[in-house]
């Protein structure tokens, strides 16, 4: 676990560093006041931290859907970073710390690391980000580990409180496949996350 934490920190630092841009210097343009208010400008960046319950919905099996996942409602904590390439489109990364307890009193934990693409609708101070996250997820259950691709479409609603902060809610659907040599054991986990949190813009 210690190794995982170090790895995540390094990954976030790496992503952040690649986006770092100087605000002053010889090459920077002088500040020009504009009359038109723009909710989002190209180059805007934000970090977001969201948390909330995680619902195991069903698993897709070779024999159809199985709604009896034997997992209980768990929780998830999402930490992300994005920058706007245009006024509507943002690209970034996100890490989720997610867990569900199980019927037999064990814990299923998974840690997806996503590349996140977001298209954001803006209506005054209301922002509606629609995202698609794709990446890989480290999964562990007792002493068993697995790493697989992971996909997570998301939609949220945020209120821009001021130029630095916005607050909102978000719903995401995580698809978590597990494929094995014994195909009868193949499963695709489906999880619904409902989270609330904030964005810090800079």
């Amino acid at each position: 676990m210690k190794r995982s934490i170090i790895f995540i920190c390094m990954a976030l630092i790496c992503v952040s560093a690649s986006f770092a841009q100087p605000k002053t210097g010889k090459g920077s343009k002088p500040h020009v006041a504009t009359k038109e208010y723009e909710a989002i400008r190209k180059g805007d960046q934000f970090i977001n931290i969201m948390g909330g319950p995680l619902f195991p919905m069903f698993t897709m099996t070779p024999n159809g859907l199985n709604t009896d996942t034997r997992m209980n409602i768990g929780g998830t904590l999402n930490i992300g970073y994005s920058t706007f390439l245009t006024k509507e489109f943002a690209l970034g990364g996100m890490v989720n710390f997610s867990f569900n307890s199980t019927t037999g009193q064990n814990i299923f934990f998974f840690l997806p690391v996503y590349l996140q693409a977001t298209y954001e609708f803006s209506i005054s101070r209301i922002h509606i980000p629609v995202s698609l996250c794709a990446g890989g997820a480290f999964q562990t259950y007792n002493s068993f580990n697995y790493f697989s691709p992971a996909v997570k479409p998301e939609i949220g609603v945020f209120y821009q409180y001021n130029s630095d902060w916005s607050f909102g809610i978000d719903a995401g659907w995580t698809l978590l496949p597990q494929w094995y040599a014994d195909e009868s054991k193949n499963r695709v986990g489906n999880f619904l996350s409902l989270t609330a949190g904030f964005r810090y813009h800079f």
């Binding site: 992503v15 037999g104 064990n106 299923f108 990446g135 007792n142 580990n145 790493f147 499963r187």
Partner: protein, 393 residues
């Protein structure tokens, strides 16, 4: 590609972002590589709600006895004494003898191989769990103290025998380990004659006895009708852990190097490998009694247990298998995944194969004493009435 239309230094930074993200994924794969072959979601699907446990702690012994000479009953000790009667499949406390000080049971023993023997218990003071109080025999409702034990005798343990029980008397120490001498009780009379001296036995729960056999860490002893003689030729290259016997009295000796079986009172031995996480803990023989059914030697370890297939009094497989891995197993193949998500995760410090399980109606039941901060105590598997591993309630 949209990114390629963005000019200048930012374009490079976005590409770096992509590279960073991809590198992150690759690094994660490298760091967390070595995926388990155990299917996670498919295993979770087999989990069951755990029962509220009623038998906690370490269960040091569990066996059939017939102290009232009217019906076999299943007894165990976890510091207290509990039993299942022929008509009740729940564990009930057996009242301990009246005493001026509160008592606890450190070990129990029986004096026959067929499950119809007497029941003996070794009592210590509850206040310290160490100071010897008495050995007493139970007749189904009352306790009778064993007589003839000299004042000041420090008895560490009693063990089951065949026509007698063994008494292990602490006589000294070597370093931090105890040295025992072996005496016996027949009926309710203690015989102080020392039959053998057992040297320190490491960290395992020795000395151990069953039927006509006693083991220390380096020696197997055999009751020859009047005393204990040393057996050689087991082929053991490790440290002895425990011993059990089948209904015919054949010994099955567990060692750190294997399981050693003799069908001729210790004259010749066969060795059998096992595969269970070290340190290995205990051994039991599951004799299905039916001539056509496969029997099992069960060996428990740091995580779960394994089984050696064969026939009591006949031959046994050279190596062990995981429970439920094949149709010939102590548990069903459909219970294998549930075993994987439960008992296989915990230290099983004792395992007990119990045949003709009258209280539940099963042909046999496997009990396991689990040592775990959260899930400790007695677990059971009932092949016909509850084919999964769960805590005893």
């Amino acid at each position: 590609m949209r990114i390629s239309r963005i000019n200048g230094r930012k374009n490079n930074r976005y590409i770096f972002t992509l590279i960073a993200a991809l590198s992150t994924s690759v690094a994660a794969l490298a760091l967390f590589g070595g995926c388990s072959v155990t299917p996670i979601f498919a295993t979770i699907e087999t989990e069951i709600p755990l029962a509220t446990p009623t038998v906690l702690g370490k269960i040091s012994e569990l066996f059939w006895a017939n102290p009232s000479a009217s019906a076999r009953e299943l007894y165990l000790t976890n510091g207290k004494l509990k039993r299942k009667t022929a008509t009740s499949n729940s564990w009930a406390d057996v009242p301990l003898p009246a005493s001026t000080t509160a008592l606890r049971v450190t070990s129990i023993a029986t004096d026959t191989l067929d499950g119809n023997g007497s029941l003996y218990a070794l009592f210590v003071n509850e206040s310290d769990w160490t100071v010897f109080n008495s050995i007493q025999r139970f007749d189904g409702s009352a306790w009778t103290p064993v007589t003839g034990i000299p004042e000041g005798t420090s008895i560490g343990k009693i063990g089951s025998g065949n026509g007698r029980i063994y008494v292990f008397v602490k006589t000294g120490s070597s370093g931090s380990k105890l040295i025992y001498s072996v005496s016996t009780v027949t009926g309710t009379v203690y015989d102080a004659a020392s039959l053998a001296t057992l040297q320190p036995s490491g960290n395992v729960d020795l000395p151990a006895s069953s039927g006509d056999y006693v083991v220390s860490s380096d020696t197997v002893f055999h009751w020859n009708g009047s005393g204990l003689t040393t057996l050689t030729g087991t082929g053991n290259t490790g440290t002895y852990i425990s011993v059990t016997t089948d209904v015919s009295g054949n010994p099955y000796v567990l060692s750190t190097s294997g399981v050693y079986v003799s069908n001729d009172a210790g004259t010749t031995w066969t060795s059998h490998g096992y595969s269970v996480s070290s340190p290995v803990q205990s051994i039991s023989v599951l004799d299905q009694t039916s001539a056509t059914a496969t029997d099992f030697i069960l060996v428990s370890g740091l995580t779960g247990y394994c089984e050696i297939t064969g026939t009591v009094g006949g031959t046994w497989a050279a190596s062990s298998q995981v429970p439920g891995i094949s149709a010939t197993s102590s548990i069903s193949t459909s219970a294998n995944a549930q075993y994987t998500s439960s008992l296989a995760l915990y230290c099983v410090d004792r395992i007990f194969g119990v045949t003709n399980h009258t209280p539940s109606g099963d042909t046999y039941v496997i009990y396991a004493s689990v040592r775990n901060d959260t899930f400790d105590g007695l677990w059971g598997y009932y092949p016909e009435t509850r084919a999964n591993w769960n805590r005893e309630s």
